[in-house]
Structures are given as structure tokens and as C-alpha cells.
Amino acid sequence: MRHSLPAWLTLLAALATPGPAAAHPHVLVTSRSEIVYDGQGKLTAIRHAWTFDDMFSSFAIQGLDTNKDGTYSRDELQPLAQTNVESLKDFDYFTFVKLGGKQLLLAPPTDYWLDYGADRLTLHFTLPLNTPQSQGQKALAVDIYDGTYFVAFSLDETAPATMSGADHCALTVNRPKPLDPAQAAIAAQLDVTDPGTLASNPAFGASLANTILVNCP
């Protein structure tokens, strides 16, 4: 009996001790993207349309039908769109663009709005590149993921990504494999309030990535 007390206390401590913050998906996003090239064939922007899951959508639109007509117009939703893109800044818009392996800098979003239909909100926004880039023979990779796993991204089944202004290029997508239990255990330990978390877990973050690849011959 004397020996069992430490065991009890250890078990109790293990069960009840506060530990690191636990992250797990609270928002599910289905992503559709457009890779935008200008008239000279330079890569200029990434345009996203992100559709939220129905539960998050119904939470987010509360109280926004200000004219009480039963629909949510673009104007009524604009303050929320503003909040969305402002908040996304701290998370690098979950969008990581690499040309020939080199990370490109993105400018703040332009042309952003929300629409609501079939119980789901869709956030539309355009992320311009800081400077337009000639792609040449280099491979373009656009990763979309949340390394802290607060938001679970998946590419749209039928129309994950398109291109405009680069007809001769070829676009493919890579979807992440489902998490195995070991990865999921890591996910549950990640701190959602710390966007830098990913830096210490690069392999894990990459394993979540949805990647859009463009190669131009």
C-alpha cells in the first residue's frame, strides 16, 4: 500500500497536469485557386476561393443579415471579409509560393469578398506577388496548409486549381496523405496561438501540404 501512493499520484498528475496547448481542426476549408499570369506571361498573383464548413459558416455569419431580408449580401458580409483577411495576415495567408525552390513574398490581399450559399461561406481573395516573376523553366509550387492544424485544408475534388494567361504550362496538384496516428499526436500538441510553431516542425507541416505545381516547357 505504501508503494501504491506514488503510483496513484503519478497517474493523477499525468491525467490532470496542464501541458502544451492542443490544436486540432476547428475550421474545415475546401480550397479552389487560380494561378494568375499577366499579358507578358509573368506570374502576378494567387487567387483563392475558400469554402468553409457549414458549422463554422453559420457561426461566422451570425447577426450579419442587417436588413433582415433572409439573405446575406456581399455588402453585409464585407466587414467579416475584412476581419478574415486581416486575421489571415498573421498566418501568412496559409499560402507559400516557391519559384525554383525560392520563396516569393506576397503583398496584402486585394479584391476580397465573401459569398454565402447552401449554408456555406466562401472567402474570395487575391494575393499579389510583391514583384511579378518570369517563370521561365523554373517550377512553381504553391503550398496551402496550416502547420498548426487549426484549419484543415483540402483542395476541391473537381476544380482544385486553374491557371489564367499561361496556356502552354501544365498544372498538377498533390494532396496530403491522411494523418497516421503518430502525426496526429504531433498535431494535437501544436500551439495554435503561435504561428511560429511550424518552424520547429517543418517535416510535419509539409506532410499536411496541399501543393499546386506548375511547369512551363
Partner: protein
Amino acid sequence: MLPLRRKDSLAPALILLCAGLVLGTIGLAEAATPFGVGRPDATVGSPGGVGAWILAQQGAFYSRLSAAIRASRESGAAAWSLAGLSLAYGVFHAAGPGHGKAVISAYLFASGETLRRGVLLAFASALAQALTAIGLVAVLALVVGATARQMDQAALVLETGSYALIAAVGALLAVRKGAALRRLVRQGKAGSGHVHGPDCRHIPLPAADVARRGGWQGAAAAVLAVGIRPCTGAIIVLVFALAQGIFLAGVAATFAMALGTAVTVAAIAALATGAKGLAARLAAPGGLGPAIALACLELAAGLAVLALGGTLLLGTLALPGQA
């Protein structure tokens, strides 16, 4: 004497709760979440193994919950599956990130409540949490027509109050247990071989008066501390059910979640009271030394509650800075 003591011990708790609520109203900005609406969970506890895996499956879980809510509009059978899913959500969520279990079990260990009271406390705090979530959504969404941001703000205020109250409960326990420890040590220094009360009667050792410790006011404060923080999952489910025109299904799901939470917390509460009972039995025949060791353990548990409340409170205050 007794009514006065009761007032004495409750007053600082209430003052701290008020301070927390005021702080929550004036001093806090919104949390740094990716889309600027929706609150993250109280992030306490380090789930491992199966628990962590289940948490990471929460995405699939959310989809199933939403499907079950939609379906329960049409059929009664679907309402049962919604209840089952919600129950499971409660069980696993409490085992994972829920902070209630830590507060309740440490409180039980320090205060030396009985098993029956421990289980009661677990159920009462889970029920209080459900009622808070239902009240919050009913008032803000149904009556006021608040926006998501306003609802987040209200939830944040309640969270802050909850954390302040947890710290207050911990501080109270620590002060009480610290005083008891000091008494014991002083008696040890005075050289008496056994423990004397102020009237020179032998102080009954903990096992004898376990049931009387803590008191209802302490238990009520612990329930309130955990209960005024609504669970994020419950709020989302309630709002969604409301949007689907079946608020009552959301209410039922919330109570099912609370039941699941209560089962997990009660199991851990049973462990806490078991550990305490064991410690008290071991200390019972041993005289001053073991009594001091036990008092130290109780003090440590009280300090753990204080530290937990303080950490959570600081986390809430620090959130805007991390934005």
C-alpha cells in the same frame, strides 16, 4: 463563527471574479485565430496516444456532428446518433484539452472531499458549463442577434472570469493549507511528540474529518470557476442547430456533451479522492511527520490550482500581444 468564516473565504473569490470580468470587458482584444472569428479551446492538457489521435480526427468529428444535426431535423433516430456523437465528444474532449479535470481533481485532492462529493462536483461543473453555453447562445444569438465577434467577446469575458476564479480557489486553498502546515510545524518545533489543537485536544488527523473539509462554499466556487467557461464546441453546435431551425436538438446535444465530460472528469475525480484517501490513511497512525507531509501535499495541490488559473489567465491576457 462559522457564517463569518464562510463570508471571509468567499469574499476574495468574488472580488477576483469581478476583477476578471472587468478585465475581460475592458482589457482584452480578440484572440489571434486565422479568420478572426471563433475562439480556440481552453488549451490545457497534453493528450497522448489514442486521445491525441481522436483529437486530431476532430475535423471528421465536426463533419459528422453537423450531418447528425441536419439529419435530426428529419428523423428521431438521427437525434439519437447526434446524442451519441455528442456524448463521445464530451468524453474525449474532457480527456484531452479540457481544463476542468485539472481544476476539479487538484481541488479534490487539496480539500479532501469524499468520492461521492467528487463525482457530484464533476457532474455539477459539467452541467454548469452546458447551461452557460446554452444561456450565452440563447441570449446573444436568439434574443440580441449578436455577431460572431460579439459572441467571441462575451465568451472571452466568461473565460477570463473563469480563470480568475480558478486562481482564487487555488489561492484560498493554498492560504488555508499553508496555515494548517504552519500550525503543524510550529507544534513540531515546540517539541511535543504529538499534535495538539489550540485547546490542547489532539487534532484529529485528516482521515477523520475529510468529509468536513473544503465545505460547500469552496465546492460551489470550484463548480462556478469551471462552469462559467462555455465549451467552444458546444457554442458552435448550438449556433449551427439554431441556424438549422432546431435549437432544441442543439440543447440536447450540449447536455449529452456535458454528460460525457462529467463521466471523464468523475473518473479522474475518483482517482483524486482515492489518492487522497490513501495518503490520509498512510499518514493516520504516524504522528507529526506524516501529518506534515500530507499537509505539504495538500498545499502543493492548492498551489497547482493557483498556478493553473494564473497560467490560463495570463494566456488570455497575452493573446492580443501575439496577434
